[in-house]
Amino acid sequence: MIGLSHYLLVGAALFGLGLFGLLTKRNLIAVLMSIELMLNSVNINLVAFSRFSATDAAAGQVFSLFIIAVAAAEVAVGLALAYAIYRGRDTVSVDEMNWLKW
């Protein structure tokens, strides 16, 4: 039978994939996508907890809605920045951002 732990493990795997992408991706947009994966794993956790164990179940889903809203805004700002830097440099590779030490 499928229980809480199954969902949590899926979340953990998603989190790990996101973290791996965050650490190893060169392209800024790819890095942003990896972060989205991590945030999704958080949401899976929250919704799973609110379904299976939470005393205040609604709070978990409210939390994940907030996270979705913020994540959407984050992508918008991140892409605007990516576009800005692309206009200046013709690249969005994180590795090539060497004005400052990474």
């Binding site: 709070a59 409210v62 920045l81 400052l100």
Partner: protein
């Protein structure tokens, strides 16, 4: 809905919207300085109003939003910081290529975020407060888009801050899983010792460590400080740190103590690492913004010692120190703004000979830096006194000794700046122009640093009253 509880936050938000609307009504080419004055006047008015709000205790929105002296003290810290930053950024903003009014708007949004953080009593409010502050900073950091450095710093900040948020959120989700609720009060009751608590707690702590720039999550600070426009750096240095501590102290005072794990030990490690890394890495820096960034890492370390004892004495030290850190920081960055306007650079070579060109600014810089180092009779000394004595009192003698020794080591790199200002030859012969607001801010910050060092009584009492409200 209780509007009174949210009064300060809403007022700042309305002020921001007012500026946004006023900007639309103004001619495109017109100077936006008036809007800056409007922001300063509005914030000052609110600061005065807030002075009368001490002693108002209460939990609103089902206990998720707290109104207490602790939150109020932090809100005043943010207001003071924002007022001073606005004041010395007037000229910087005038010279922006575009979107001048939006600068103030975003700055005010950041302040709203910090204020929410100070009052947050549940994880959602905490998260949203953090994000509102951080989002405003993403944009402010990247504000000078003609400078690739600025954009790059913004991207780094965005990526790293979002990643830190994701890690923190994951930790929060585990805490939610254990306790089943999100408010601090419920968490305090519901958190039971379990592996998930360890992992979740560490992840939440990592998120905070990022906000206060404590190692190993401090790597963003030097780059972002260097890339961002100076006023933004100033606000980031004190605001992000103060807001991070505001939320962190509350969690560590209300949620974690009952869980049976030795959380202070983690804070101890974090604090020692921050002091060591910050002070040692600051030594070879030649760019003053980077130097101040590493110095702010070290300050985070000092501040963390105040949380070790888990009592109000240490928290009082944290509050006191954050307030005076605002003044020291504003002093240093205001001087740096003037230097940067003149030389278009912020290295130790650019500041050379400042004592001949602008003796007042050189004195302000010296006083601010020495206050950060904790040399009496400046305020930083009293702050460190409170922090370290609370640590010793709680039995953590060696971290205090380390703190004392490293703050004296920090004098080395601060004095290198002083040496450059007093001994170095000026790099050019052009007359040094100081805008009036910058001069006023700098002198005011220095006077405050001196006054609170010689007579810390009122501020320390205020901090003590505020700290006591967290420990009910």
């Amino acid at each position: 809905m209780n509007f009174d509880a949210l009064m300060l936050e809403m007022a700042v938000a309305l002020l921001a919207l007012l500026i946004l609307v006023a900007d639309l009504l103004m001619e495109p080419g017109q100077s936006r300085r008036k809007l800056g004055y409007l922001a300063i006047a509005g914030l000052t008015g609110l600061l005065l109003v807030s002075l009368g709000r001490y002693g108002m205790q209460g939990a609103f929105f089902n206990g998720l939003f707290l109104q207490d002296d602790y939150a109020l003290f932090f809100k005043q810290t943010f207001l003071i910081g924002a007022i001073l930053v606005c004041l010395f950024s007037l000229d910087t903003v005038d010279n922006l290529p575009h979107s001048r009014a939006e600068f103030y708007v975003l700055l005010l949004f950041a302040v709203v975020g910090m204020m929410i953080l100070a009052s947050a009593n549940d994880l959602i409010t905490l998260y949203v407060g953090i994000e509102l502050m951080t989002f405003s900073f993403f944009i402010l950091v990247g504000y000078v888009l003609c400078e690739t450095k600025s954009t790059e710093a913004a991207i780094k900040y965005l990526v790293l801050a979002s990643a830190a948020s994701a890690v923190m959120l994951y930790g929060m989700s585990l805490l939610f899983g254990i306790a089943g609720q999100l408010s601090y009060n419920a968490l305090a009751k519901g958190l039971t010792a379990s592996p998930a608590l360890i992992v979740g707690g560490v992840m939440v702590l990592s998120g905070f460590a990022f906000k206060i720039a404590a190692p190993p999550f401090h790597m963003w600070a030097p780059d972002v400080y260097e890339g961002a426009p100076i006023p933004v750096t100033a606000l980031l240095a004190m605001g992000s740190k103060a807001a991070g501590f505001a939320a962190m102290v509350r969690i560590f005072a209300e949620v974690f103590p009952g869980t049976g794990y030795p959380w202070p030990l983690l804070l101890l490690l974090l604090s020692g690492a921050a002091m060591l890394v910050g002070n040692l890495a600051a030594i070879p820096q030649t760019n003053l913004k980077r130097m101040l960034a590493y110095s702010s890492v070290a300050q985070a370390g000092y501040l963390l010692t105040g949380m070790l004892s888990g009592g109000f004495a240490g928290v009082k030290g944290v509050l006191f120190y954050l307030m005076i850190y605002v003044f020291a920081n504003v002093g240093a960055f205001a001087v740096l703004t003037a230097v940067s306007r003149h030389r278009n650079g912020e290295t130790i070579g650019d500041i050379a000979g400042l004592s001949r060109k602008a003796p007042v600014l050189a004195v302000v810089m010296t006083v601010s830096l020495l206050s950060m180092a904790g040399i009496p009779p400046l305020a930083g000394f009293v702050g460190k006194f409170f922090l370290f004595s609370s640590a010793i009192d709680a039995g953590y003698l060696w971290i205090a000794v380390l703190g004392f020794v490293l703050s004296m080591v920090s004098v080395y790199y601060y004095l290198n700046v002083v040496k450059s200002m007093y001994l170095g030859a000026p790099a050019d012969d052009r007359p040094f122009e100081i805008a009036m607001p910058v001069r006023v801010t700098a002198v005011f910050a220095m006077a405050a640093t001196l006054a609170m060092g010689v007579y810390p009584g009122p501020l320390s009492q205020l901090a003590e009253t505020a700290a006591k409200t967290v420990f009910k």
